[in-house]
Symmetry: C2
Subunit: 208 residues, 2 copies
């Protein structure tokens, strides 16, 4: 087989590992399954990585890094803040339904990280990134709808992440899409209450 730079091979193995994990779970991602998926020999794995643990650490760092806010990025700002929130949540959820495996993998990797002492920092970072992504979104929504949040955005972001995680877990278990959609409606309503119409910037004579 053709030569390949070390970084390329590492990346290729990580992507192959992610495909294997999606199909068979973390437990099924053996070095043999991964090299078979990548079309390499077993020895090539250990040429690229000193151990399976090392690869798993790099893999988790990779997914945490690349857990794009793609879902949120393509958010559809509606007429008001409630619609923005609703669109964001429903958009996220459509994505979960379209590719349930992806979120399941993220949950599995989170638990793997929580179980592996060396990887605890990655679990923390994973949530820091989720929260940061949502905070950014909340600021964008704030500007777009001309409102200000009456609670710290950190707090609102944590609530949104909790709702999406919780809804996703329950949906993965019972696949009740209708019930999940209604919960998101309620969540959007409740969160929208936290936005108050911002005073437009005016001169002093305009009081009330």
């Amino acid at each position: 087989m053709a030569r390949m730079s070390s970084v390329d091979r590492r990346g290729e193995l990580i992507h192959a590992a992610l495909r294997v994990i999606a199909a068979k779970g973390v437990a099924g991602a053996t070095t043999r399954a991964i090299v078979a998926e990548a079309g390499m020999s077993l020895a090539s794995f250990h040429y690229a990585f000193t151990s399976r643990d090392e690869m798993m650490r790099e893999l988790i760092a990779f997914v945490v890094e690349n857990e794009t806010n793609a879902v949120f990025a393509e958010i559809d700002f509606g007429r008001d803040i409630r619609e923005t929130l609703r669109n964001g949540l429903q958009g996220y959820f459509l994505n979960v339904q379209a590719d349930p495996g992806h979120e399941q993998v993220m949950f599995e990797l989170l638990q793997y990280a929580l179980r592996t002492p060396d990887l605890a920092d990655l679990a923390r970072e994973q949530y820091a990134r989720y929260h940061a992504a949502v905070i950014e979104l909340l600021h964008a929504a704030e500007k777009n709808a001309n409102v200000v949040w009456s609670l710290p955005v950190e707090e609102i972001a944590r609530t949104i992440v909790a709702i999406t995680d919780g809804l996703t877990l329950a949906w993965l278990a019972d696949r009740d899409s209708a019930a999940s959609a209604r919960v998101m409606d309620f969540a959007a309503d409740s969160l929208a209450r936290l936005a108050t119409v911002s005073e437009p910037v005016r001169t002093k004579e305009h009081v009330l």
Copy 2:
């Protein structure tokens, strides 16, 4: 070693397995680790269970069955519905903080069930029970605070389970107790809005 009825030995092995899972995760719960914890020989395991899979199925059914609403059972009804909700959520969360391993095990078992085709029904049942337990609580709170819920209790229950699951996952990752507590306060406020003061049963002359 003394003889033991088959059901006793199965129960003992399941409890030993739960201790092993708490300490080392589902992946670490090998038949050898389990019998070592239970103080039995490896052969005894296969005398009680035909296979490890059979035991895992029974173990999950057991924890789902016994995922008592203990947390919720000892709920402290406050002065009003908001306090009841707040006490319920904070009470649950104190329990998570006191024994983080327990919830982590529940999440791991959920994912194990989701990955094992034969066990998908157990995952569904797990959430059906969570939802049912919270619904029962919502009815109790309704009576206690003399209010009626303006949304179907199924919907409210799903929201509460989603919030608790989501908060627990984030807390397991970053251990930010203060932030979690604030989210629960907001959740209690939002949910309390769904309770409207119920019309006391009166005769017709009392209009408004």
